[in-house]
Symmetry: C2
């Protein structure tokens, strides 16, 4: 990922830093990033994007040109401009490892830093983490719906911009996709690449068989032929007719792709044509406006489909294009803080999540506690950055992917369905409830309603 | 916008170029970008993103490191690697100016170039244009629903990644928003910036009034105070009590912001408190999970709201997070081409759209014709790049915005509603229908079904 300008932030962040500096409010603040409520049809979420978030914090610098531009707006004082000129993130980050399953109100990340720093990073930090969490959770649904199919991200073109296209490949690979069509994701993250041909390729030839043969001779190791440009079943028969000529030169037709029409019916008729033609090893790959519900329909119908390209529905998380992911002040200058806005109130203080498992290894329930209260189970939040320095080298993407796989295996059965059959239990420790009441009493004392 | 790597593409594009080069298929291809069908609740779309698309074409280069990486994959031949090493886009682009209203099946952009070039740019070209078209169309709905309100883009944090956050500000400004909170959009595009404070700012102080006063003294030119951290009406009374002290030092409270609760009821009660306290000039700005339907509800209820921050629903186009935007081969080597896949067939050839207007200046109907057929009305598609060179300097964003405003004024009344009351008439010229039939006959002759 290219480092983006630190000015990719909301104006109010800079306004607030100006006020904090003017007023001397630079003590330690603790913010937590969490999701307030799970969206419809999501029984869980999955932590993702932490590496990019840490990259952002580590590399946050203002260029001379950016400082000059801020100065020219006439909005900001010299104290702010000097502060930003030397800006370095020097805080601590505690977080759930990428690939961890989490639920509403559980902090996926806690950031501890001088207030102006902690405040400034809010907008881009949410921007980075929200999207990968969204896509990992969406991709996990397909992985659960079709555990034995080859799933490939095809959605860069209608993802919302460049970064979304790239990061969707990363987040869906974490959740268990086999790979992506997006070449840059292969270069940048080592994610396996998949891809064959478009309809325009077929159309550029005057004869469909000639297009197939040309492609096969160019890419003999990866012959997957697109059948639906004109007439899918006719194209399947052309593939059967072509196969002996290719076999003579040692080329096997690895697969065919269907991108339109009734994919269940066509996969069956194409399978029959291929089998009758001796191409039993040739796989069927489908694409074209598919999502996790399509995967369930394919399985129910017994469609002989081996792999699925999932595009727009994945990279836009089409049924749920955003989640209520927020970053909230929980402590400042040693005192726990709390927002009490209607339906948006928060649990104050630094928190930890303890996860308990059933005897069969499935997740049983989580307990939200204060960070320094030891409880039964496994703590989910760990230090990853202290004083602006990463504690460990980044885990490999395959390690993250293995973690995600284990997490999905440990999900309660009811949460593995596309429409979750239960709500996972997240308890709030008594100490936290009491702390919230303490904060409320303090607020009432210091600032009674007029 | 930062130039992204040319490897932000789909693998199949590079596979196809390899096959085109191997087979000598490098004649001129014509592709058109259009939307197959309008999504639910969209009566029209708006062209946007052309400048970024032309930037992409003009600056498309492969670095030595990118070529080396491609070579190391072992997938590609030396002819392809040499071709990409010297890659420059040398083609022509015809397009609708940004801000133009358009409809299903109307090419918003036509690209003419040697086949490997024209093929290669597909994925990123759609990625750039799809998102800005999507957001301009979404933003236009709010502009039509609340023509006299101050509308501000607040949605960078939950936009899908960095580029979406930035480009949503641009596309919504084109459609008629007053500005954005995203600072980088101010620096990069000169878009007006808006922003005040977050709840965390209020919470960092032990006293709400002290927070208000600190902010007002730091930003005396732009005092907009956030009221809903604890109790909105109590906070409004604190603002009234604070006002005289600020007035003494020449500071006016320009506005208040409400971000939660029943915004219609609260705007009325806060208006009453402010008016009774002599703050009749202080405006009310609202935010928090709003969309164009909220704007209609505010207007119906006569809510005394002056401005609205629209965030996630705008930048994710929440109700319609993608549109069926495609880029299809229409001609190759002088011959018109056509895809006939089920429900995805296309009109062949280079096309033009002619728009006719009623006597009152409203759009009446469009006619889709072959590009060289002169018709009545105004042609919408114009040359913007020839031989890889831009023909004109980029229009200013404010010029584009003025065009969009005129276009929205010319919309038929039925299309100005959030749920469109009619479908706009787009006729297909007889010559185009005949050409499609010609192509079909040619395909049948050259490649009969087996």
């Amino acid at each position: 990922m290219q480092q983006t300008s630190p000015l990719l932030t909301d104006l109010y962040q800079i306004n607030m830093i100006q006020a904090y500096l003017d007023h001397g409010d630079t003590e330690t603040a603790v913010f937590e990033l969490f999701v307030r409520t799970l969206p419809p049809r999501r029984g869980f979420l999955m932590a993702a994007g932490l590496e990019q978030a840490l990259d952002f914090l580590e590399n946050l610098r203002f260029s001379a040109a950016e400082i000059a531009w801020l100065k020219n707006t006439g909005r900001f004082g010299p104290n702010l401009l000097n502060y930003l000129r030397d800006f370095r993130f020097t805080g601590d980050v505690h977080a759930m490892p990428e690939g961890t399953v989490f639920f509403a109100n559980e902090p996926m990340l806690r950031l501890t830093a001088p207030l102006p720093q902690a405040q400034f990073v809010e907008s881009r930090l949410i921007n980075i983490l929200h999207y990968q969490i969204l896509i990992a959770a969406k991709a996990a649904r397909s992985v659960l719906a079709a555990p034995n199919k080859l799933l490939v991200d095809f959605g860069m073109r209608r993802a919302h911009g460049a970064e979304a296209g790239l990061m969707a490949a990363r987040a869906s690979y974490i959740a268990g996709f086999a790979g992506t069509a997006t070449v840059l994701a292969g270069k940048q993250f080592g994610i396996p690449l998949f891809g064959t041909m478009a309809h325009s390729f077929i159309e550029a030839f005057s004869d469909e068989t000639e297009a197939f043969e040309t492609f096969a001779r160019t890419r003999p190791d990866n012959v997957v032929l697109l059948l639906d440009t004109y007439d899918t079943e006719a194209a399947a028969r052309k593939v059967v007719a072509l196969a002996p000529r290719l076999t003579e030169t040692g080329i096997a037709i690895r697969g065919v792709r269907l991108d339109s029409g009734d994919l269940i019916a066509l996969s069956k008729s194409v399978r029959a044509i291929l089998d009758a033609g001796g191409l039993k090893e040739t796989t069927i790959f489908v694409s074209g406006g598919l999502d996790e519900d399509s995967l369930v329909a394919f399985a129910r119908a017994g469609a002989p489909i081996d792999g699925i390209g999932i595009g727009t529905s994945l990279t836009t998380s089409a049924d749920v294009p955003s989640i209520d992911c927020v970053y909230k002040l929980q402590e400042y200058a040693g005192l726990p803080r709390r927002k009490r806005s209607e339906n948006k109130s928060t649990w104050p203080g630094r928190k930890q999540v303890w996860r308990r498992y059933d005897t069969d290894g499935r997740m049983a329930s989580d307990l939200l506690t204060l960070a320094d209260h030891e409880k039964a189970g496994a703590p989910l939040i760990h230090p990853v950055m202290l004083g602006g320095q990463r504690l460990q080298p980044a885990p490999s993407l395959d390690d993250i992917r293995r973690r995600a796989k284990r997490e999905l295996e440990c999900l309660p059965e009811a949460l593995r369905k596309l429409t979750p059959g239960a709500t996972y239990k997240v308890e709030v420790a008594d100490a936290l409830v009491e702390l919230a009441a303490d904060v409320d009493r303090r607020l009432e004392r210091s600032s009674p309603s007029i």
